[in-house]
Subunit: 343 residues, 2 copies
Amino acid sequence: MELSERKIKILQAIIRTYLETGEPVGSRTISKDSDLNLSSATIRNEMADLEEMGYIMQPHTSAGRIPSDKGYRWYVDSLMTDKTNEIIDIKQDLEDKAGKIDILLQYIAKLLAKDTNYTSMVTKPRYTHKKIKFVQLTDVDEHQILAVIVIEGNIIKNKLINVVENIDKEAILKMNIILNTFLQGLDITEINMQVIANMKAQAGNYATILSDVLDAIAEVIAEADNIEIYTSGATNILKYPELSDSEKASEILYTFEEKKQLTQLIGDRISEEENRGIQVYIGDETPVESMKDCAVVTATYEIEEGVYGKVGIVGPKRMDYEKVVATLQNLMTQLDDIFKEKS
Amino acid sequence: MELSERKIKILQAIIRTYLETGEPVGSRTISKDSDLNLSSATIRNEMADLEEMGYIMQPHTSAGRIPSDKGYRWYVDSLMTDKTNEIIDIKQDLEDKAGKIDILLQYIAKLLAKDTNYTSMVTKPRYTHKKIKFVQLTDVDEHQILAVIVIEGNIIKNKLINVVENIDKEAILKMNIILNTFLQGLDITEINMQVIANMKAQAGNYATILSDVLDAIAEVIAEADNIEIYTSGATNILKYPELSDSEKASEILYTFEEKKQLTQLIGDRISEEENRGIQVYIGDETPVESMKDCAVVTATYEIEEGVYGKVGIVGPKRMDYEKVVATLQNLMTQLDDIFKEKS
DNA sequence: GTTAGCACTCGTTTATTAGGAGTGCTAATA
DNA sequence: TATTAGCACTCCTAATAAACGAGTGCTAAC
């Protein structure tokens, strides 16, 4: 069976009404509220068809219809072709905060959660090809060296290194030179045994200290590799009765508290082309078990050539897709503008 | 009326049973479970007295009794005199993590939440008298300076400063010297207009840049002043029926998500002597509105002379005070040992 | 002082009922 | 042929009632 023009209108009406109310919607409601001028009986016939086709379902006989996952999917897909133009101007707010990327992202998460009444999450962008800009050692006291490592994209990391031997100024000076000659401009994937061996050879007496320093650098870089995720509005899910029962809520909230699992949702596979743009996961489509009763919308932002992060919204399946998608699209362009301006 | 020996035993029995079950406890239960060998009628008489004295109350006529806040308070106070000796050996775990204080604290929070099944929170210790160890500027590129600021207690902060003028090596060198001559060893409260004016005088041509740098330093220091709080196990509160209804849970969880309000609970007044040691807040005693149905136990740790942080546990009023207090006491001594060893 | 006994209270559970929203089907209608 | 009015039927929900039972307070006897 095909989706006739009329069926489409009815299906849309059902889904829209359900998104608003969260209650099963009956034939009479559609008959009255839509501009189709059809009796409830006709609507009923069409609804029977739509059910057979899998777009809607009944929680029980003698209840109205609610959208199935397939129904939501259809709805979302049909939305994507429209150009919606809801505008929420956060650009101004954003510009003030553009100085510090992590504060900015945290702020965006908060804004999104507040604006949508769903839960938001934002990943810190991940530099896949990190080149070392420079490394600098400073002596703090006789047994401590402070290493400052600056990676492309102005990610700054520091670490205190405890060293057994006494440290003199000369050692620091020499190591600074060695480190920078060898590492500057190097992609971190290029730091191999060969490079390290060469450095150690040059370091002579200071090889042990250098080894400590290199360990620290490795550690720091590994750390930068962890995906950091900011979330906001987790408690918003308690506002939706279908999610707020103790068990479900507990699972979902736990996921947000732990954050680890969120990686699967917005951390993975950013580099793959097809995962860019706006993605919608409905119910079982999400890779995270605890969110099987939720819908997730994600979007990818680019802060500079090849450096991506993601933004996501989690809510009930009956979330206001239109608004969420529009909001995210809007946010993305505004972020684009901000980052473009800066560079 | 006085609390007779027998009344004490009955009160204890009531509270203990209620802590376990969370259900009102009746006279017959006490009569059978305790070693008093009294009939339920006698217990009833005593219970009527205890109720009159305010230690227990009835949720409604013909229900058993539950402890009132006063009852809990009495119970907790009586616990404090006992020497409990439950031992949970986390020391070994802790030592591995002692390298990085924030990871350590985060880990402690997790451990506590897991161990107690309540919610835990840990503040990062706050250095009240922060002396600047040193400041170091490095040129990143022509218009960016990287400032690294090390404060006593090895708190390291860095900030990228955008400068309009071109920067040459000489400027950097000169400013480094000025900054360190003036600021090194200075308590941050001592950096006043006078000092700044003197520095600017010395800086000559570089005064504008110096001004930017000082702004950045001020910002960084202000940031270090914020109390950071790690929490864990927030979703645990959903395990307790008396807290898990949507509204209450939402409020409490929101408090943990936002964290701001937690400051009132474990951030404030650490320096005041009487707030050290173990503190128990029951119901309305807590300064945080959303936790009026909870109990909060806090403890203070000292990582070095004069540098304090706090650890807190939040749970239902019927929390297992004995275990929580013992766990915290234990944790405190173990932390003490670890930090003492290190210095 | 303690306890057995008993009437009474009141929340909880279970059963019953009434109401109503919504359906599917059929037959009449345009 | 498509639409619609009508009606019997389903089944959820809310309301009401009844049965239950845990627990109490009080009294009177031990």
